[in-house]
């Protein structure tokens, strides 16, 4: 991923004080105000990795200094009523249970409340599609934990996607995006594919259509002010509304979509009680018997995790697995669904996909990368068997015998009760706060 360097900063982009981590009058300090940088830059001039910078920490001397500065600023602003654009950005404050690690945010795109709010508008703005009919939110629906309930996503022009829409909950912790794309490691890059991608068409934007959107935004009631607040400069001309700003704002909003308040989380915090079936399911889930935890054992119930451990950025579990979902001969999966193999062309990568997060899994049916498994019970059944058996049709084959299947996928001896217990436990991972939080809701409704 490439972030701005001095050499590459767009000419129309002025450096802004808004990105500096300061508090705002009245509401400052305390809590976890953390700005983490992971900005590895492109190009010769920037081969030196940027240091990870902690912004404000509640008990540091730096914080005291900033407190003094901010109080002075407050005094200044109360006496001199100027500043068309508020130069002081209020940094995002994570509200996470202690069981969750600190998320990583690129240094070039620090989270601010104003940017997240702008990103929420853009995420739900249907003008960001070629026919004005869809937005990011059309396929990432809050009530469904930001998935869409379809087997395969449908683009704004009706084109069917080969993949099932993944949930966006806790995407801030995910190191590689998409189902099996080792090449996309930043949200700012990822979101360009649904916006502009041609195969398949998702939102279907083109350069020429984007110019019309910029005109629209410049004449919008809200956007000039929302952009100005988010990025600390004036927005008047259509070309002021850049893709870079839009991408940074949407990525910022997506990073804040966290799911941390499921019944399971409440149980960990001592605020809820799991029933006997859920408890047995939990124990099975994390046992060597059911083996679920090998690929779904992180705090996010997936394998791939990116977080800040207090000293540095940690990346763990960047793996992809073949779970024996298909075997069309030679270990093949259906076309357009061959997993990492589509990128690497190595046979060993056939059918390899990311283990998705199981948080809110009861809300995100149907399942697997292509939505080809309708229910959680069937998903579990496939794992109990050690792969999926498709008796007839064009995808007939014994997935259990896929030569590229992960060695972690073997037959598991689970009684019907045990399977029901695991499902009961998975149901405790649904998060009512996530799907009802007004901060994530469509502002156009």
């Amino acid at each position: 991923m490439a972030y701005w360097t001095k050499a590459h900063r767009p000419k129309n982009h002025k450096k802004s004080t808004i990105n500096k981590p300061t508090g705002q009058c009245g509401r400052i300090l305390g809590g976890r105000i953390v700005d983490l940088g992971i900005g590895q830059k492109m190009g010769k001039k920037t081969t030196k990795p940027k240091a990870y910078t902690l912004g404000l920490l509640p008990h540091s001397d730096e914080a005291l200094l900033v407190l003094v500065l901010v109080l002075s600023a407050c005094a200044l602003f109360s006496t001199i009523a100027i500043a068309k654009i508020n130069p002081i950005a209020q940094h995002w404050r994570w509200q996470l249970p202690p069981t969750f690690p600190t998320p990583v945010v690129p240094a070039d795109n620090p989270l601010t409340i104003a940017k997240v709010e702008l990103g929420r508008y853009l995420f739900y703005d249907k003008r960001l599609s070629i026919d004005g009919r869809s937005s990011c939110g059309s396929c990432h629906i809050q009530a469904l934990a930001f998935s869409d309930g379809r087997a395969n996503a449908i683009g704004t022009t009706g084109e069917s996607h080969s993949k099932n829409t993944p949930s966006l909950a806790n995407v801030v912790y995910v190191p590689t995006l998409n189902w099996a794309n080792p090449a996309v490691v930043s949200l700012e890059t990822q979101l360009l594919t649904p916006l502009f991608g041609e195969h398949p068409i998702e939102l279907g934007l083109t350069d020429q259509h984007f110019a019309k959107i910029q005109m629209d935004f410049a004449n919008d009631d809200k956007y000039p002010a929302l952009f100005a607040k988010a990025f600390g400069r004036h927005y008047q001309k259509p070309q002021d509304f850049t893709i870079q700003d839009i991408a940074q704002a949407i990525a910022s909003f997506e990073r804040t979509i966290v799911s941390t308040d499921s019944k399971y989380d409440q149980y960990l915090a001592g605020k809820a009680i799991l029933n006997e079936s859920e408890k047995r399911g939990m124990q099975l889930f994390f046992s060597e018997k059911a083996e679920c935890f090998h690929c779904h054992g992180s705090i996010n119930f997936n394998e791939q995790l990116k977080y800040f451990d207090g000293k540095k950025v940690q990346i763990s579990g960047v793996h992809f697995h073949n779970t024996g979902l298909y075997n069309l001969g030679d270990g093949d999966y259906p076309q357009d669904g061959q997993g990492v193999f589509e990128f690497s062309q190595k046979p060993m990568d056939k059918g390899k996909f990311k283990a998705p997060s199981l948080r809110n899994v009861a809300l995100t049916a149907p399942y697997n990368h292509d939505g080809s498994v309708a229910t959680l019970e069937q998903v579990l059944q496939n794992y109990v068997q050690g792969g999926r058996i498709i008796a007839d049709g064009k995808y007939a084959g014994d997935g259990r015998k896929n030569p590229h299947k992960s060695d972690l996928i073997t037959q598991i001896n689970l009684s019907p009760q045990e399977q029901a217990d695991i499902i009961a436990f998975l149901n405790t991972l649904s998060d009512e706060m996530l799907i009802n939080n007004p901060n994530y809701a469509d502002p156009f409704q």
């Binding site: 490439a2 090449a183 996309v184 594919t193 195969h199 990346i315 357009d336």
Partner: protein
């Protein structure tokens, strides 16, 4: 001639490759127009030397030789002639030949070298302008009109401008070598965050965190039959770029197993009088553009896309020599197949 030609700059031009030092020798009226047009389109254009001696005096001082390389794309038109393509007409393309219009036609050029008589490759430093950084240029042979309106843009650029360090005579130089590619260090930058010509959204390839080196899209008259799902798509696409890429999540660095840089090496004793011609018939020589066998419609460089087999062969990505670029004379928008370059009609003197 129709007013809808893609490259108005090319309408007049005889020579795509013009070594400024030598233009005085064959200073036809047409070439005068060519230079005039380039000034109009804000490309950097040195003063037109009135005769060779004056110019050589200049380069003795600066020890550099400005060179411009002109690109054309040609295809077989409805009259059967190999003609410079535009966004309006149908061309006979593919195997078997079928009619198609151009929808987009852009590519990046980097690693440009001028070849000398004694076998050396001298790097050509590109001049920084709206279409060039020192090491990469975008050649844009569509004008965003008519059939190119949806995929293309209004910008055009057919001429690569560079400077060769040192003194060279025309007879010292025998050809040009370049790659259709973006330098690896710049390929994976986010288009929205960098300078021209790498800031073109259409050339970005977000799903691989990189760029399309070459984006050629054609609209077959009867659409493209997608055999895998029995649907019809409007465009047959050729997107060439690095594939099999892996990102390092902590740093964002991208590494790719398949570079897919199209290497071009063109030599001709009269190279400086010719244009660099991209032959779309050669590109699609093995492709049935009426149908798509697997994956993305056309060839988007996926290693397992069978529609890429022919494209990878003609572009030389499977190890053989590329067959799509050549040096040739183009007169009045049509390929001049005569073996020797057309003689200047009349020298212009003051």
């Amino acid at each position: 001639m129709r007013g809808n030609h893609i490259f108005s700059a090319i309408k007049f031009s005889v020579a795509m490759v013009s070594l400024w030092a030598m233009t005085a020798q064959a200073h036809t009226q047409q070439q005068t127009k060519q230079l005039h047009v380039e000034q109009d389109s804000q490309t950097i254009s040195p003063q037109v030397p009135t005769h060779t001696a004056t110019y050589q005096k200049t380069i003795t001082k600066t020890h550099s030789t400005p060179i411009s390389l002109r690109f054309n794309a040609i295809a077989q038109n409805s009259d059967g002639k190999m003609s410079v393509v535009n966004c309006h007409d149908h061309y006979w393309l593919g195997n078997p030949k079928s009619q198609a219009k151009i929808a987009d036609l852009r590519f990046y050029i980097s690693n440009v070298h001028i070849l000398t008589k004694d076998g050396k490759k001298v790097p050509l430093n590109l001049q920084e302008n709206d279409h060039q950084q020192s090491d990469v240029a975008l050649i844009d042979l569509e004008n965003g009109e008519e059939n190119c309106a949806e995929r293309g843009n209004g910008d055009t650029n057919a001429v690569l401008q560079g400077v060769l360090q040192g003194k060279y005579r025309q007879s010292d130089l025998v050809g040009v070598a370049f790659e259709v590619a973006v330098p690896t260090a710049k390929n994976h930058s986010l288009f929205s965050a960098v300078d021209t010509p790498l800031n073109v959204q259409a050339m970005s390839w977000a799903w691989l965190s990189g760029r399309k080196f070459m984006k050629i899209e054609i609209a077959p008259k009867d659409k493209v039959h997608n055999l895998s799902d029995d649907t019809y798509a409007p465009l047959y696409n050729v997107h060439i770029g690095r594939t099999a890429c892996t990102g390092e999540p902590a740093t964002g660095e991208i590494a790719c197993a398949n570079d897919n840089r199209i290497a071009v090496n063109l030599q001709d004793p009269n190279w400086y009088k010719k244009t660099i011609v991209l032959d779309l018939n050669a590109l699609f020589a093995q492709s049935d553009i009426r149908q798509n066998q697997t994956g993305a419609v056309g060839c988007m460089s996926a290693p397992n896309d069978t529609d890429c087999v022919g494209i990878f062969d003609t572009t030389g990505l499977t190890g053989n020599a590329q067959q799509i670029f050549s040096l040739a004379m183009v007169n009045d928008g049509v390929l001049d197949k005569s073996p020797s370059p057309k003689k200047p009609q009349k020298k212009h003197h003051k």
